[in-house]
């Protein structure tokens, strides 16, 4: 509270997508609670979490929408792409099928978000290297071909989880700085809170202006 009038100066909206069971909810939980939730219940529809981070000494509040990966929820979750500044697209490195579905997730993401939405590819469960079914190089190449940022993470050990969320925010912030993201437009997925309050606190009023207090 003592930090100033605002807790944060931006809100970034994220969406996490990918097949069921790739660890989307666990990633969110790891990021917001710094804990691994081994018996995470199935996501019903859409859930959300928040956390305040700092990028370039700006406080940014991330509002993260976690979607259900099942096909039957696809129609529902599609509605949550609008207005996302960042999309984390997750697959499970131990299940090739989840990797193979990426192009369909990517199509959704491209069609339903705005052109400036930062899409970050996450290969989750990298702690299970022995059961690996998708190589790092292959996914890296896919990411490069599609202009995605990419990291392999583990929601279990927490490896790289922080980086994935923060790098996405940094990229969004960079887009704001170089002007490619228009903050005034509705549903850019970013909301800005002015650094100085519009109604400044009257701390140093010149005395002559003051009404007579005698």
């Amino acid at each position: 509270m003592a930090a100033g009038p605002y807790n944060y100066s931006y809100i970034f909206k994220y969406i996490i997508i990918g097949d069921m069971g790739v660890g989307k909810s666990c990633l969110l939980h790891q990021f917001t609670e710094k804990k691994f939730m081994a018996d995470c219940p199935h996501t019903i529809g859409v859930e959300f979490g928040t956390r305040i981070i700092e990028v370039a000494s700006q406080k940014i509040k991330l509002q993260i929408w976690d979607t259900a990966g099942q096909e039957r929820f696809r129609a529902v979750t599609r509605s949550y792409y609008r207005g996302a500044a960042g999309a984390l697209m997750v697959y499970d490195i131990t299940r090739r099928s989840t990797y193979n579905h990426l192009s369909s997730w990517l199509t959704d993401a491209r069609n339903l978000t705005n052109p400036n939405t930062v899409i970050f590819l996450i290969g989750n469960k990298c702690d299970l290297d022995a059961q690996r079914d998708v190589t790092y190089e292959e996914a890296k190449q896919f990411a490069e071909e599609n202009g995605l940022m990419f990291l392999e993470c583990s929601a279990k050990t927490g490896e790289n989880v922080e980086d994935a969320f923060l790098d996405t925010a940094k990229k969004i912030y960079q887009n704001i700085q170089d002007g490619s993201l228009d903050l005034n437009a509705a549903e850019s997925g970013v909301q800005h809170k002015p650094a100085t309050p519009r109604n400044p606190i009257n701390t140093d009023q010149p005395p002559n202006k003051e009404g007579c207090a005698c």
Binding site: N7, Y80, R82, N114, E187, H192, N202
Partner: protein
């Protein structure tokens, strides 16, 4: 003795000056008289010449000389005297001065004495006063506001709020409550007065704070409101004035409410930057997407608004704030624009599948949004209302579909299979029931819905089938009904909560199957010529005499029938009714076959038992019916 003489002499000499003189000279002891010696010595050098003149003049010379000395002496002392005189006059003057000073000092002393005593008493008094001042200052410190603080509480002309306002306000409160101590002492008047003045300060401060807060709250109309630290403090402080707090929060709610409406309309009509994401209304031709996008927007917006509100009242104790109510107000504004649009979609939609999907979608979001705002909130009652409407629209459309089935009943096809309206309706039913897989509604709801849907579709379907079968003969009708019901059955068996319906359908199948089975069995018995005999044997009573004597039951007739029966045994399928072959379900077909064969076997067994019964007087009955019932069962089953 001498002294006595001298006394006598002296008395004589006094009478004679000369003798006295002489005596005196004689009595002089020169060697002891230093003075005399000195004088003589001086005298000895007195003359330079011892002559008569000198001797004569001695006296005058000495006198002269003495005179001169005295004159000299005199003049010397004259100067001394003059100097002494001047010293004297100086001393005199000093004395006078001293005297004067002494007098003056005396006078001053006399005067000062009063002053000093006055000073001392004043000094004492001043010390006392200082002490009292300290006490008074301490009192004022504790029981009065500083001018600065008063100024802060008064605020500025433009209504701004100083950052230290809350400190000052807390002090006013503290003083006010401290006055209770005063009231318990003998400073009651002061206590009351201070209390009163603090109450006034407090009132005006709260009023100012309220006006400021209200003004601030009125301005939080941006997409993302600025909930400043100062505003949070203001809201916290207003907890002491619940009414003012309520008004302020109402104002906040109003501002947010219009912000939410504006955001919703923007999302509907303007979309994102450069048109991506596209405006929601662009998808109005796709009802599910259109309504789904609106609901998702409302869901996200409700979540955000709740966060803003929570950050505003984060310092308040939970019981003071009617969070749910305020959130309800904030999200109330979008109800109408939302409702109007969804209603438009619903009333122009004919397809029951889409209607049902919309119904489920609305249910899903009702459930989802309930996790954020109270189900009593206008938004949720609106969603519930619209969901109710969609539910009714769905069943209306389903019912009207079912009614159309009965309006124009098709004739059964020659293969006694499904009519196209049955196939279509079952496909519709499948589509409708499948909707549930694509959404999350409570199991109870699902169960209730299924019951209602089945009632709405299956009953008219059965009715339609009966009507369409009404002109068929019994066997055709039974086969047709068995087939139609079978198709319903296979459709329903894929879904949950259809058990009761399936049971009902199975019972109906059984009834039709009974007809079919008995028709098949009697057809077989007729064709092998056993039907007549079987009838006669069943009607036969012992008093009629032995069977062999009854016409049509003679040995020859029986033997010829048994021959035919044998060829049936060799080729049992040859006597299968065409209707039985038309049964679609292989299990039902098999069961029909099995049960009709059982009937045939039973009939044979009765005939066999009758013929080998000696009472019936057949010669060599064993020869007439060579096959035992067991053999027949074995061959047929």
């Amino acid at each position: 003795m001498a002294n006595k003489d001298e006394k006598d002499n002296n008395a004589q000499t006094a009478a004679n000056p000369l003798s006295r003189k002489l005596n005196k000279i004689l009595e002089t002891r020169l060697d002891n008289d230093k003075e005399m010696l000195e004088a003589l010595k001086a005298l000895s050098i007195f003359f330079t010449e011892n002559n008569l003149r000198s001797r004569r003049n001695l006296r005058s010379d000495i006198e002269k000389r003495s005179l001169a000395i005295n004159e000299e002496f005199l003049s010397a002392f004259q100067a001394v005297k003059e100097q002494l005189d001047s010293v004297y006059s100086d001393v005199q003057a000093m004395n006078e001065c001293c005297q004067d000073m002494t007098n003056r000092l005396k006078a001053a002393k006399a005067k000062t004495h009063h002053l000093i005593s006055q000073t001392t008493s004043l000094h004492n008094e001043s010390q006392k006063l200082q002490l009292r001042e300290q006490v008074a200052n301490a009192f004022l410190e504790k029981f009065q506001l500083k001018p600065d603080e008063i100024k802060i509480l008064r605020g500025t002309r433009d209504g701004g709020l100083h950052a230290d306002f809350f400190k000052a306000l807390a002090k006013v409160k503290q003083i006010h409550s401290d006055c209770k101590f005063l009231l318990r002492t003998n400073h009651q008047t002061a206590g009351l007065e201070i209390m009163e003045s603090m109450a006034l300060h407090q009132e005006s401060a709260y009023e100012r704070l309220y006006r400021w807060t209200q003004n601030q709250c009125r301005q939080v109309t941006q997409d993302t409101p600025d909930v400043s630290y100062l505003l949070c403090q203001a809201v916290e402080a207003l907890q002491d004035r619940p009414v003012l707090l309520k008004y302020s929060l109402d104002e906040f709610g109003k501002a947010r409410r219009s912000a939410v409406v504006r955001g919703f309309i923007d999302a509907l009509t303007r979309g994102g930057p450069g048109g991506t994401p596209r405006p929601i209304e662009l998808h109005s031709h796709d009802p599910l997407r259109y309504v789904g996008d609106m609901l998702a927007w409302l869901h996200q917006s409700s979540a955000s608004e709740k966060e803003y509100l929570q950050s505003l009242v984060k310092n308040c104790s939970a019981n003071v704030i009617q969070l749910e109510e305020i959130l309800g107000n904030i999200t109330e504004g979008v109800c109408t624009p939302f409702k109007v649009r969804v209603e438009q979609v619903l009333v122009s939609e004919q397809d029951p599948v889409i209607l049902y999907k919309l119904d489920n979608l609305l249910k899903f979001y009702h459930h989802t949004i309930t996790q954020i705002i109270s189900s009593e909130a206008a938004l949720l009652t609106t969603v519930a209302e619209i969901q109710d409407l969609s539910h009714r629209m769905f069943f209306n459309s389903l019912t009207s579909h079912a009614n159309r089935l009965l309006d124009k009943v098709e004739l059964p096809p020659p293969d006694l299979g499904a009519t196209s309206s049955l196939t279509q309706t079952l496909q519709l039913l499948r589509d409708v029931l499948a909707c549930h897989d694509a959404s999350v509604v409570r199991i109870d709801d699902k169960k209730q819905d299924y019951k209602q849907i089945l009632a709405c579709v299956i009953d008219p379907l059965l009715q339609m089938c009966s009507v369409s079968a009404s002109r068929l003969n019994a066997v055709d009708m039974a086969a047709y009904m068995v087939n139609s019901i079978h198709l319903m059955n296979t459709t329903l068996s894929l879904y949950e909560f259809t058990d009761a319906r399936l049971e009902m359908l199975n019972a109906q199948t059984e009834a039709h199957l009974d007809t079919l089975v008995s028709e098949q069995a009697s057809y077989i018995l007729n064709r092998v010529g056993l039907a007549q005999m079987y009838g006669s044997i069943q009607q036969h009573r012992p008093e009629h005499g032995p069977l062999s004597s009854i016409s049509g039951l003679d040995e020859i007739a029986i033997k010829s029938a048994m021959n035919k029966f044998d060829s049936y045994l060799a080729q049992p399928d040859s006597l299968t009714l065409p209707q039985c072959s038309l049964i679609l379900s292989s299990t039902v077909r098999a069961s029909a076959k099995k049960r009709s064969v059982e009937l045939v076997c039973q009939a044979y067994k009765q005939i066999y038992n009758a013929i080998i019964d000696p009472k019936n007087n057949y010669r060599d009955g064993q020869n007439i019916v060579p096959r035992t019932p067991e053999q027949v069962v074995h061959l047929l089953m």
